[in-house]
Structure formats: structure tokens, C-alpha cells
Symmetry: C2
Subunit: 107 residues, 2 copies
């Protein structure tokens, strides 16, 4: 009974939560940082930077890709991952809006 009752909440709340969920693991936060700092975005390099197995990193990359925060393009035998500026901006806007709203405290 762990499935979220997503249809019972507002669309933007669900979207906001899904972006937050993508960032809810240190490895995925770290991946974004690596992608930003490194010139090369090859998958193997990301694996080298993280203390996780290749399969696990690939799984995290998939989650980031599915939510639209990153994108991967095939480059010969390897895959070049990169931040997706549109997805990032969307996430930033939504979360920023939430923080703005929440800043008006009631008490």
C-alpha cells in the first residue's frame, strides 16, 4: 500500500514532488554536480566519481533521465550524459515557487 495517491493531489504538487524525488538521493545530487563540473559527461566517468557499482549508477541515471533533469546521447560505444537545461529550469521554478509560497508563515 505504498503507492502514492497521485490523482488525489493537484497536478503541480505531484510534479513538484516528482522533481524533489529525483533529487532525494545523495548519489543523484552528486551526479548533477559531476555533470556540471566535468567537461566530459561520459557514463563511465560518472561511475568512477561515485562510490557505487556501475549498475547502481546506471539506475540513478535512468531516474534523472526519466524526470527530465538530464539527457543522454549515444557517442559511439559510450553514452554522453548531460544536464537538460529545460528540465532543470522547470524543477527550479516549481520548487522556487513552493518556497516562495511557504515563506508566508501563518503563525
Amino acid at each position: 500500500m505504498a503507492q502514492t495517491k497521485a490523482d488525489l493531489f493537484q497536478e503541480d504538487e505531484v510534479l513538484c514532488a516528482s522533481y524533489a524525488k529525483a533529487l532525494s538521493h545523495p548519489a543523484r545530487v552528486a551526479i548533477l554536480k559531476v555533470l556540471a563540473q566535468r567537461k566530459s559527461c561520459v557514463c563511465g566517468d560518472i561511475v568512477d566519481e561515485l562510490p557505487l557499482a556501475q549498475a547502481t549508477v546506471s539506475q540513478h541515471l535512468k531516474e534523472l533521465k526519466e524526470v527530465g533533469l538530464i539527457q543522454g546521447t549515444i557517442d559511439g560505444p559510450s553514452v554522453c550524459y548531460c544536464i537538460n537545461p529545460e528540465g532543470l529550469k522547470k524543477a527550479q521554478t516549481l520548487l522556487q515557487s513552493l518556497f516562495q509560497t511557504a515563506a508566508t508563515c501563518c503563525c
Copy 2:
């Protein structure tokens, strides 16, 4: 084997992820909105606003409280929940910083 290897990541990455995790469920996003919009922050009112059982809402409130995004003060028989400005600001700063960093795309 689902425990996050938190000690293998940087401290701010873990912290950032924990804030994101707190926001990773539509119900918790909704709770923050309700707290911001409503004048009253009584727990019962929050339960009324959400399509979830009292026990479930209480659990979500606990998670938000534990990460420091909200605080609850006992008010007679009921509990007055309120956004914690400091926690909120901390979360905002950390996530904002992540977005800023990530904005420098490598490709």
C-alpha cells in the same frame, strides 16, 4: 540493501537530498501549501484538507518536522503546526545552490 550509503557522499549532498526527500511526496508539498495559505495551522484542519487518513497525515507531518521544515507547538488539546522559516530557508539555499551549479552545462 536499500540503505543509502550516506557516509560515502559529501555532507551537503546528503543534506540537500534529505530536504528534497521531505518534499518528494505530493502530500507533504500540499501540507506546506496549506500551512502557508491557512491562518490556522491546527493538525485537524490539515487532515481535513488532505485526502488521507489522520494517521497518514500525522506521519507526513512527522517527516516534515524531523527535517526541520515545520514545527509543532501544543495548543491545548490540539497541535498548531507551522512552517519553520529557518529550515525552509536552509532548504531553499541548498537546492538553489544545486540548481545554480547544475546550470553550467558541460555539453
